[in-house]
Subunit: 378 residues, 2 copies
């Protein structure tokens, strides 16, 4: 059986409607008993030997020739075909997301729509809207939630990524008091006399410990933690840029608040400036995400060891009985585009440590769109 190429689609007659469309979900019905096949569908039937050739201007093209001609007509054809064939081989019915084909969507990025297991294309809402991406293309992060990425690597292997909007269900109830005093030393803030539960229940900072140490209650805060606390009016830090640095430290170490103690607002400004010195405008974005998570009673701690901005704990009751963190959060700009290699690395690592990878798309105004990405094994 042959198909005929006309206006970018392949028409097949004979019993094609019954054999390919009705029985196996290829193509879309056309005149009479004919069906129209998109190029990827026709190529797949050629590869399987279900049709023998596609006739183009009188030439009969075999799979190799039709593949090359289709690639010349549409440079995205080879990648689309690889994904189409892979999902077909895994037993899915799927269609090109193209007007006139079943399951077509308005979303311009979608290349293929996958029907739910056990149903034909167009019978209901697609189970997956698949965006085909080459390893070297970049993927705009905005409005990605709900789409499935099929990333084709340079050796033509395909990985699938599922995207969604995560829900946060934090339950960390500790709230710090309003009178914490710290000293800004380098790019951290040392609280020499931390309030009860500050680290143990609120999971703020990191104790300064030495075996048989004589100092209790010394907690080091990151600049992000300190800035967030200051923004909430809970932390004050005497000016560390003053020449009499170590005398102030002595002062704060003994817990004596002098008359010149700056307020939280001044502290917030000072710490934020230091943060911007070391981290640039990223500091503001990270701070916005930190505060948004704390607002949701989720505890963010540094995700450095995982190459992320934060790892997060939904519910911390005590550091002694700390659960595993559930998510890794990477903070990106609102107009971020993913490099598939980096995205793959993040998602792979998160999966390997049984956490969910979440991106916080953070605008200059502090507004955040959350995007969870995980590997999908179809």
């Amino acid at each position: 059986m042959n198909g005929v190429l006309r206006d970018g689609a392949v028409t097949v007659g004979g019993n094609a409607r019954q054999q390919f469309h009705d029985a196996r979900g290829y193509g879309t019905p056309a005149d009479g008993d004919e069906i129209r096949l998109a190029r990827v569908e026709a190529a797949h039937l050629l590869l399987r030997g279900d049709i023998d050739a596609v006739v183009d201007n009188g030439d009969g093209l075999d799979f190799a020739a039709f593949f090359a001609a289709s690639a010349a007509a549409d440079e995205r054809f080879p990648l689309r075909f690889l994904v189409y064939a892979d999902l077909r081989d895994r037993g899915f019915y799927l269609s090109p997301a193209r007007e006139g084909w079943p399951g077509a969507t308005d979303d311009e990025r979608t290349d293929l729509t996958v029907a739910p297991r056990g149903t034909k294309p167009g019978a209901g809402e697609p189970a997956h809207r698949v965006v085909v991406v080459g390893e070297r293309e970049s993927i705009p992060a905005a409005d990605l939630a709900g789409l499935t990425l099929a990333v084709v690597d340079e050796e033509s292997e395909i990985s699938y990524l599922d995207t969604s909007e995560p829900a946060f269900d934090g339950g960390t109830s500790y709230s710090p008091p309003a009178d914490i005093t710290g000293a800004l030393i380098g790019d951290r803030v040392v609280v020499w006399d931390a309030p009860d539960g500050f680290h143990e229940r609120g999971f703020y900072g990191q104790p300064l410990e030495a075996r048989e140490a004589t100092l209790d209650g010394v907690v080091q805060l990151s600049l992000i933690e300190a800035a967030a606390l200051a923004a909430e009016g809970q932390l004050v830090v005497p000016d560390a840029d003053d020449d009499s640095g170590h005398e102030e430290a002595t002062l704060t170490a003994t817990g004596v608040a002098g008359e010149m103690m700056p307020d939280s607002q001044a502290t917030y400004t000072t710490i934020r400036e230091r943060g911007r010195e070391v981290d640039g405008e990223r500091f503001d974005r990270r701070l916005a995400v930190y505060r948004a998570l704390r607002d949701r009673q989720v505890v963010p701690k540094t995700g450095y060891k995982f190459g992320a901005d934060f790892r997060t704990y939904n519910t911390v009751e005590s550091v002694e009985a700390l659960p595993h963190s559930e998510r890794l959060v990477r903070v990106v700009a609102a107009d971020h585009t993913f490099d598939p290699r980096d995205l793959s690395l993040d998602v792979r690592l998160a999966g390997g440590v049984r956490k969910r990878m979440v991106f916080a798309l953070t605008g200059a105004n502090g507004e955040i769109d959350w995007l969870a990405v995980s590997r999908l094994t179809p």
Copy 2:
């Protein structure tokens, strides 16, 4: 007992020599029974309560005050102290890598030297030369092999990374024949009639498969694989930029080599140009690394799923009995500097999938320095 700060070191008398130096490896002997302590050593003894105060110009400083004063005198002090205290607490003897202290080295980057377990500082070669790095600092990659990185994150947690020069012991014996013909389609090369063992034993490319497919022996090559084969004179590709693209594909599909068939050198040039179009100058570096690995009978395949350039197999006997890949290779420029967060991500991921992370520092001339980095749990 008090110490006295003088010229950036702290002198302690009394029984300090016996109690701190001889018994516990702190400091370096000075006049009479005195010892001199570096600031990190003095701070550690203060924190432990082994000395009560450090006298500076008549003022007695407690730990908090001495810590702040030392941070003001040397901005790297807080990080160095955190690492010093952490390793001390883990039971190591260590010294500042400073002239006059035991185990001092010529290497400017080294901050601390760690004596082998069970020995005192200076008794022999250091077990580790530790470079202290803040999370936000960058680390030049050149000549790093043999050093231990102690990276302090923003929350003052420390991770240790071991660096070394890896040895390659490849044993993949397959060698491709000299007469392979392919078609350049998009950013891959399709070999329609691959020689025996090309994929199965040489692990070149990726078969084009479909369930019940009728085409055997179709293998897709990445541009890197194709360029490396062409460079060895093993692959030719007719000019794919010609208008008659699909006819050529038909030609090559049938295995007929026409009179106009270009040679491997021309093929190499064409593929390299395509590679540079999609990957820029990185293509040349990656190609140099690919070829260097194949030269060592090691098989590089894409490391995309791990966010790396390559994953490598020392010995492939057949794809059916494929071992796990042993290494992940990231190709970087010879003057590359690591961002500790990225480095941490790479090493963590590699460890999680039981592979070794290797960086290939590749110069414009194709010369490669190899650097293996792994996590170290002291």
